[in-house]
Symmetry: C3
């Protein structure tokens, strides 16, 4: 058979590195489409002039667009037969992506654990995004539950990697000449700076977006994500197309502009859960909670650790009394962003 | 509260200048998306070679795309709490926008008049679009009806600016080396030149486009327009998303290619009314009326003053016996365009 | 009347050449949109670095995007009053299209034959796509059935051109420095090379895409195709918008990546039939059959002649016992593609 059936749980070997296919060169086109598909307004990713005033060579591709491109490349090898996308950890953005850059991806299997049912197992991979010079642009750990094809294959030795619960501030990587000391708050859209946010503070981002099939499918295709459930109504018993979880991440992050307009740059992904599925017709809102604050060595630059929650319901509700995510919660993301002091 | 509640009527001061946020660098991506979202076919905005033959450095961003980008930036400060977008006047395009340019916007409050109800008022602003060198790329006056938040605030002294009913031909600004003397009518798509149009003449542009939610939302997001009613079904009692009025302007202008293919360049916006709301599912058509003609100092270049009407019904119907726009009329726009002699 | 009514059968003259309007400059924007609208993954059209390793200057615009742009320009002159798009032959891609290139199109009438009914006739045109230097980028023959406006006009002398049933391998044109001898199969996504495909072999490409109105309309507008039936629900008695046949070609070709990831470059279109209409809501799948193989003079490069079938049903079904296409078959395309040896 010449088509890719995807890998099953027993096809992964601990320590192996998988080179993912279909490198991708980005241009101003990807940036324009990102702005058409999401209500993205962070000035650093909208204006070359603003980006230069902050020490960058020009406005980079949105950090999440870079993430989606790398993630998309991994799908045919990692999650084509995944039952669930279980979590993220130790994500870091290491280098900006500019028009003309070419991205590719590699994943190393760092953990394997068969489920007690014997019908599936959890695969842990550390994925790297690399540019045309083989510089790392980002990395993250993801773990997914993958079906077994052959139930008679004995389970591998269970290895569950020790993952940091949060990327420590010392591990954050900054653009070499990033400088927020002459930051233009008027052009950025809000006056709130690092000192204005307190740990424990919550922000309702107010705006909402009703999702269309064409929107989420175009976005997911743009990232060359091949997961069938996003595109083909025959893939699920309910005849619905599942919205790619990364679409919700970008949507929520874009909505968070309203209240976090100066949290310009994402530098780390500490954790993330796609709490419930999302479908066309859903109206997605977002709220944030400040989980931590850190200083940085860069001039005028502070870091905020933020919880970003996407929801179909009211702000600030997250878990029920049973500790489980409420049914209206779509995403619970924990990340570090850079903001002017 | 860290999110932007928008300004209310009592928050505006006569004479103040508001610097709008989120500057935006454009690329070939915005041009491609414009062609995907509208049936735009004017050759000057499609072909670098055609544009160079007309004296420009390359094909500029569509004049209306430049308008929408500037307009979009004003929304969070001017029309987030607007009840109605009442009118436009004294609009002029002053400089072409090319890939790599960065646009920002400023508005000066030039008029304020509280309504007799005491619950809202009319705000008049003159908005300027500026590029990365602070050159003006366009300007226009817009007035909107904005709610009051605090009804006890006494009304400001009423100031209604004197606005020109039409931009006089002498005030039109032309690209420095614009030259239609070697204009290629075959490549432009029609043979009709300035001399072929008569004042009073009407043209049915024949074609129609049925609007989809994803189309109008993508367009409106591309312009970073944050008005909630375009994106969120919970914002209106009828559960429908209102199509951004500028989407109808671009749609009607693009449809007008069929009969006005040589009316290449928009140089002034004399007046405009969004006569009725438009929703996904509506099939939009357009017709034009020649309102005036003028010579210009540029070689081979004439100007036409055109009424552009977008409608869900038959061509040429505009107002009822009561003088009000008929319910099927969506847009009534009065503009100057440049056309070969 | 100033609008274009389109040509009718009696308006064509044997031997005349029609210069089509609206030249178009492409950028990275068109490439990004192509990836958003189709699940396109062929590495040569995704990565500049991969394309350079194959001897090209950078990643070209997808061959089918170039085809659609040229085709779109012909619509107002050739098929605005067409009843049916009957066939393609002798299609060849002659030169790659890169960002910054400007495309235009010309068609020569090479055949005319009135139907026995006297109400319509078949028009055969040879269309050329040309770049800004007047280099040919592609050419193809297309024939369409066009209505007569004036039934009293006597029929022209019937001329039916002799068309090659297939482009012979000797007639294929290759990029000057194309070289697959150091081809990276891991980055391309599959290991199957020229030698691995056998004449008669069939491949089910497995994946499916459910079509949305916004997707097919955006694509068709991007190619500046003005055929009314794709955009306007009032054009057909059933109130449905017909999906542009070329949309199905691009969709099926993109889906064929899964099993033909290394069939990188389309160099000839031997024949093609839009077997049945397609509408939003349809879920499109694709299968291929290897019809032929040929060697080429380029290092490491072989050619495969492929049948590409788009279907709403199961793979491999094509025609009924009556020899007619089955109702679920949307497209039957015969083309040559280049693949590493």
């Amino acid at each position: 058979m010449k088509t890719n059936p995807g890998r099953f749980f027993e096809d992964y070997r601990l320590g192996e590195t998988i080179v993912h296919a279909v490198p991708r060169t980005v241009s101003g086109g990807e940036r324009a489409m990102y702005h058409a598909l999401y209500p993205a307004r962070h000035a650093l990713y909208s204006s070359d002039k603003f980006a230069r005033a902050c020490g960058l060579q020009q406005s980079p591709l949105d950090d999440l667009a870079a993430f989606h491109i790398v993630f998309g490349k991994t799908v045919p090898d990692i999650s084509l037969n995944a039952v669930a996308n279980l979590g993220y950890a130790e994500g870091r953005w290491l280098r900006q992506v500019y028009p003309g850059d070419t991205l590719r991806a590699e994943s190393t299997v760092i953990g394997l654990k068969e489920n007690s049912s014997g019908t599936s197992g959890v695969v842990y991979v550390r994925t790297k995004g690399l540019n045309q010079d083989d510089d790392e642009v980002l990395e993250y750990v993801r773990w997914v539950m993958v079906k077994k094809r052959d139930l008679t294959v004995p389970p591998p030795a269970a290895v569950v990697p020790q993952l940091a619960p949060v990327v420590v501030p010392e591990a954050l990587v900054f653009p070499k000449r990033l400088d927020f000391s002459r930051y233009d708050f008027a052009l950025a859209g809000e006056r709130h700076r690092w000192a204005d946010y307190e740990v424990g503070e919550t922000i309702d981002h107010v705006d909402g977006v009703t999702i269309e099939e064409a929107d989420h499918m175009q976005a997911t295709r743009l990232w060359q994500n091949t997961s069938k459930v996003h595109f083909d109504v025959t893939q699920r018993p309910d005849g619905r197309r599942l919205v790619y979880g990364g679409h919700i991440i970008s949507l929520a992050r874009s909505l968070s502009f309203n209240g976090l307009a100066n949290a310009q740059m994402i530098v780390a992904l500490n954790a993330g859960a796609h709490a419930n599925p999302c479908f066309a017709g859903d109206t997605v809102r977002a709220w944030s909670e400040v989980l931590g604050k850190a200083e940085t060595p860069m001039p005028g630059v502070g870091a905020l650790r933020l919880r970003l929650v996407a929801t179909k319901g009211p702000a600030f509700a997250l878990r029920g009394e049973d500790g489980k995510y409420l049914p209206q919660v779509l995403l619970d993301l924990d990340y570090w962003a850079l903001i002017p002091l």
